[in-house]
C-alpha cells in the first residue's frame, strides 16, 4: 500500500481498534493509541508534502468503484499543493487536539468512544481532501457529517445535546441535496467526476456549456457548501453544535470540517472562474454572513457561542474571498484561522475546565492571574484574530480585504462589509477577553480555580505560538520577503487554484487600505477598553439604552424561531395530520385491514357451502355432470 493511502488508513485503524477492542484496552492506552495514529499520519503527510512541493502532485490508485460501458469511476488519492496544506492542517492540528483531549476528557466515562469517533472523523476528513474524484469527496463530506453528529451528541443522555446533533446532521443534509444536484449536473455535462479533469475541461472548452448551466452548477455546489460551512441560510446548526465537548468544537467546527466547503470551492476553482453569477452570489452570501454573525457575536454571554458565531463570520470572510476570485487568499485565511480559532476554543475549554463547567462569561472575570497560561494564549489568539500586525490574522485578513476591493470581481462594498466585519471581530473578541479574564472575579468559588494539566496547556502554547508566526508564510509581495521566506502560499497553490486578475492599483493605495484595517482593529480595542476595562457598569447601561438592538442581537435575530415557525411547524403539522392520521391510519392500515377482512368475509361466505347436507352436494354433482355433458355433446 502506498504512502498517501497510509495517511488515510492510520486514523481508520485507530477508530477500529478503539471502537472494536475497547474492552481490552486500558484508558491510558486508548488515549495513547488514539494520539499515536494521527501523529503518524502527520509525519507521513510531512514527508509527502515535501515531495509534492519539490516535485509536483502525486496520484495513487485505489480501485475502480464501478465500470459501465462508456464511463468508469476510478477512485484515486491525490495530493497537490492545496491538498497538502489541508492535510497538514488536519493531521497537525488534529494530533494536537487529540493530545489535548487526553487531558480534557480524562474524567469522562465515554473516553474510548470519544477517541474512536475523533479518529473516525480524521479518516473521513482526510478522505475528503485527498480524494481525486468527487465521489470520494462526497463520501468524506457525508462521513464528517456523521462524525460531527456522533460527537455533538456525545453526551447522549442529555436530550438537548442529541437534538443539537440531529439539527447539525439534518441541516447539513439539506445542503447536500443541492450538492448532489450539482454533482449530477456536472457528470451529465462534463462526463467525468475527476476534480482535476473537471477543472481542465472548463479551461479548455469555454464555449461548450451555456453560462446558465455553469452558474447553476456553481450555485448548487455552493448550496452544499452553505450547509457544511455554515453560511446563510444553513448556519443555524453551528451555534447549537457547541453542545459537544470543547475539543470537538475546536477540531471540527473551527479548524477542519467547516472548512470543507471552502476547500471544495477552491478545488473547483477552474469551474468557478467561468461562473460569474455564482461567484457574485458566493461573495454576497459570504459578506452578508460575515456581518450578520459578527453582530450576533457582539452581545452573546456564552463563551463558546461567541466563538461559534465568530467562526461563522470568519467563514463568511473566506467565502467572500472565494467569491471575488482570491482562492489562495481564502486558503491562507483558512490556514491561519485554524490556528487561532483552535487556540481560542481550546483556551475556552481550559477556562471551562478550570471553572468546573461554567460557560457564562458574566460569571467569570479576574482569571488572568489565576490561570495565566490559558489567559496569555487566549490573548495571543485574540490579537491574531483581531488583525493586528505582525500576528498571523493580520496578513490573511488583509489579503482578503485587499482582494475584495482590488479584484476584477471585487467591489468597494465588499471591502466595506469586510472591514465592518473586522472591526466587529476585534470588538467582540477583545470584549470576550476583557470580561472573561480581567476585572474582578464574579465566580462564586474563586479558590477552586486551578490551571489545566500539562496535556492541555502544552497544546495551547503550541497553537498560541502558531497563531503568532504562521502568518509569515503568506506575506504579500508588497511588504517584501521578511526572513527570506517567499510567499509560500502563492507558490504552493500556483498550479492548483485559479488566479484572478487584480485591477491596477498603486502600492500607496494598498498601504492605505492596510493602514485603515489596522486603525479599525485598534479603534475597536480602544472602545472595548473604555466600556469593559474597569467593570461592567458602562456596558450594561449602554445595553439598556439600546435595548431593542441588544435584544435582537442577543436572540440571534430570532432566526431559529423563524425557521421553526415557517418550516418546522408546518412540516410537523403536515406529518401529523395528513401523513399519520390520514395516509397511514386510513389508507395503509385500511388497505391491510381491508385485505384481511375481505379474506375473512369471503372465507365466511364460502364456508356456507359446507352445510353438511348430502343432497346439497349431490346437486352440485348434477350441475357438474350437466356442464360436462353439454360440453361433450355439443362441442366435441
Amino acid at each position: 500500500m502506498s504512502s498517501l493511502t497510509l495517511i488515510i488508513i492510520f486514523p481508520l485503524l485507530g477508530f477500529l481498534i478503539n471502537g472494536l477492542f475497547h474492552k481490552f484496552i486500558s484508558k491510558n492506552w486508548a488515549g495513547t493509541l488514539a494520539c499515536f495514529f494521527p501523529a503518524l499520519s502527520f509525519l507521513m503527510a510531512l514527508k509527502m508534502a515535501y515531495f509534492v512541493f519539490t516535485q509536483g502532485p502525486i496520484t495513487e490508485d485505489l480501485y475502480v468503484w464501478a465500470s459501465l460501458k462508456e464511463t468508469s469511476f476510478p477512485l484515486q488519492i491525490y495530493m497537490d499543493g492545496l491538498s497538502a496544506i489541508m492535510t497538514l492542517i488536519i493531521c497537525g492540528i488534529g494530533s494536537l487536539i487529540h493530545y489535548y483531549s487526553t487531558g480534557y476528557m480524562s474524567h469522562d466515562e465515554g473516553y474510548r468512544r470519544y477517541f474512536s469517533y475523533l479518529n473516525l472523523f480524521l479518516f473521513f476528513m482526510l478522505l475528503l481532501v485527498l480524494g481525486k474524484s468527487l465521489l470520494l469527496l462526497f463520501v468524506g463530506w457525508e462521513g464528517v457529517g456523521l462524525a460531527s453528529y456522533l460527537l455533538i451528541g456525545f453526551w447522549f443522555k442529555d436530550p438537548e445535546k442529541v437534538i443539537a446533533g440531529k439539527k447539525a446532521f439534518i441541516v447539513n443534509r439539506i445542503g447536500d441535496a443541492g450538492f448532489l444536484i450539482g454533482i449530477f449536473l456536472l457528470f451529465n455535462t462534463v462526463g467525468t467526476l475527476d476534480l482535476i479533469d473537471i477543472n481542465q475541461w472548463f479551461n479548455l472548452q469555454t464555449g461548450a456549456l451555456t453560462s446558465f448551466m455553469i452558474n447553476l452548477i456553481g450555485i448548487m455546489l455552493f448550496i452544499g457548501a452553505t450547509g457544511k460551512s455554515a453560511q446563510i441560510p444553513l448556519y443555524v446548526w453551528l451555534p447549537d453544535a457547541m453542545a459537544g465537548p470543547t475539543p470537538v468544537s475546536a477540531l471540527i467546527h473551527a479548524a477542519t470540517m467547516v472548512t470543507a466547503g471552502v476547500y471544495m470551492i477552491a478545488r473547483l476553482s477552474g469551474l468557478y472562474i467561468h461562473a460569474d453569477v455564482a461567484m457574485t452570489i458566493i461573495a454576497i452570501v459570504g459578506a452578508a454572513t460575515a456581518v450578520f454573525a459578527a453582530t450576533i457575536a457582539l452581545v452573546q454571554s456564552d463563551i463558546k457561542k461567541v466563538l461559534a458565531y465568530s467562526t461563522v463570520s470568519q467563514l463568511g470572510l473566506m467565502f467572500l474571498s472565494l467569491g471575488v476570485g482570491a482562492f489562495s487568499g481564502a486558503i491562507f485565511h483558512l490556514f491561519t484561522h485554524a490556528f487561532f480559532k483552535a487556540c481560542l476554543f481550546l483556551a475556552a475549554g481550559s477556562v471551562i475546565h478550570a471553572l468546573h463547567e461554567e460557560q457564562d462569561i458574566f460569571k467569570m472575570g479576574g482569571l488572568f492571574k489565576r490561570i495565566p497560561i490559558t489567559a496569555i494564549t487566549f490573548l495571543l489568539a485574540t490579537i491574531s484574530i483581531a488583525g493586528i500586525p505582525p500576528f498571523a490574522g493580520f496578513f490573511s485578513k488583509d489579503e482578503i480585504l485587499w482582494n475584495a476591493f482590488a479584484s476584477s470581481k471585487g467591489h468597494f462594498v465588499f471591502w466595506a462589509l469586510g472591514s465592518l466585519t473586522s472591526f466587529m471581530t476585534s470588538f467582540y473578541m477583545f470584549r470576550l477577553f476583557f470580561i472573561t479574564f480581567l476585572g474582578k472575579t464574579r465566580y462564586p468559588h474563586p479558590e477552586k480555580i486551578h490551571e489545566s494539566p500539562f496535556s492541555m496547556t502544552s497544546v495551547l502554547c503550541v497553537l498560541g505560538l502558531g497563531s503568532v508566526v504562521v502568518g509569515f508564510l503568506g506575506v504579500p509581495q508588497l511588504l517584501g520577503h521578511p526572513f527570506g521566506i517567499q510567499n509560500f502560499f502563492e507558490k504552493a497553490l500556483e498550479g492548483t487554484v485559479a488566479q484572478v486578475q487584480l485591477g491596477t492599483y498603486t502600492h500607496e493605495t494598498e498601504f492605505l487600505f492596510m493602514a485603515i484595517a489596522i486603525f479599525f482593529a485598534f479603534a475597536a480595542l480602544g472602545i472595548v477598553y473604555f466600556l469593559y476595562a474597569k467593570d461592567l457598569e458602562k456596558s450594561s447601561k449602554l445595553s439598556q439604552k439600546l435595548s431593542f438592538i441588544y435584544k435582537t442581537f442577543y436572540n440571534k435575530f430570532y432566526i431559529d424561531e423563524l425557521y421553526s415557525f415557517i418550516l418546522i411547524r408546518p412540516l410537523h403539522f403536515f406529518s401529523r395530520s395528513f401523513i399519520k392520521d390520514f395516509f397511514d391510519s386510513i389508507i395503509i392500515d385500511g388497505f391491510l385491514h381491508g385485505l384481511a377482512s375481505s379474506a375473512h368475509y369471503s372465507a365466511q361466505q364460502l364456508s356456507r357451502l359446507q352445510n353438511g347436507r348430502l343432497q346439497f352436494y349431490l346437486l352440485f354433482v348434477f350441475l357438474g355432470l350437466f356442464i360436462a355433458l353439454s360440453w361433450s355433446l355439443y362441442y366435441v
Binding site: Q615, F616, L619, F622, L623, L629, L633, Y634
Partner: protein
C-alpha cells in the same frame, strides 16, 4: 322383429318404473319399482344375447341386493318426517334441471351415429368365464380381495366403536 318388440316393451317398463321411483311415498313400493326396473333390464340383456349378465343381474342384484334392501326397509319401517314430506328442498332446483337435461342431452345421444356390427355376438357362460380367467385374471384375483375387504368392513361397521 320380435327382438325389436321386446326391446321396446322392456325399455318402456324400465323407464316407467324408474320414473315412478321418484314419486312413490312408501319405501317398500320404491323397492318394488326398482326390482321391476332391474328385471326388465335383465330381460333387455337377455334379448341382446348377453345371457351371463342377465343371469347375474337377477341372481346378484335382485336376488341378493334387493332382498337385503327389502329386509332393511322392513326393519326400519318408521313413519317419520321423510314419509310425510317426500321431497327435499332441493327438488325445486333438481326437478327443472332434470327436465332440461333430458330434453337437451338424451335426444342428442340417442340419434348420434355409432358404428356397429351387423349381428350382435352372443355371450355364453363358457366364453365369459374363459375370458375372465385368462385375459382378465388380475381382476378375478382382485375381486376376491374386494370381497374380503368388504366383509371386514361390514363387520367393523356393525361392531361399531370400541368403548375403551
Amino acid at each position: 322383429m320380435i327382438a325389436q318388440f321386446f326391446f321396446i316393451i322392456f325399455s318402456l317398463i324400465a323407464l316407467m318404473s324408474a320414473i315412478s321411483m321418484l314419486f312413490l311415498r312408501h319405501p317398500m313400493r320404491v323397492a318394488l319399482a326398482l326390482i321391476t326396473t332391474m328385471l326388465s333390464l335383465a330381460c333387455l340383456y337377455a334379448t341382446m344375447g348377453n345371457h351371463v349378465l342377465a343371469l347375474f343381474q337377477v341372481l346378484i342384484y335382485v336376488g341378493a341386493i334387493m332382498v337385503f334392501m327389502v329386509y332393511v326397509i322392513m326393519l326400519l319401517n318408521t313413519k317419520d318426517s321423510s314419509y310425510l314430506k317426500r321431497f327435499s328442498r332441493y327438488a325445486i332446483v333438481a326437478g327443472p334441471l332434470l327436465i332440461l337435461a333430458i330434453f337437451l342431452f338424451v335426444p342428442k345421444l340417442a340419434i348420434s351415429p355409432i358404428s356397429y356390427l351387423s349381428s350382435p355376438a352372443t355371450f355364453s357362460l363358457a366364453s365369459f368365464s374363459l375370458s375372465f380367467i385368462t385375459e382378465y385374471f388380475l381382476f378375478f384375483e382382485l375381486s376376491s380381495v374386494v370381497l374380503l375387504v368388504a366383509v371386514v368392513c361390514a363387520i367393523s361397521v356393525i361392531k361399531g366403536r370400541k368403548h375403551v
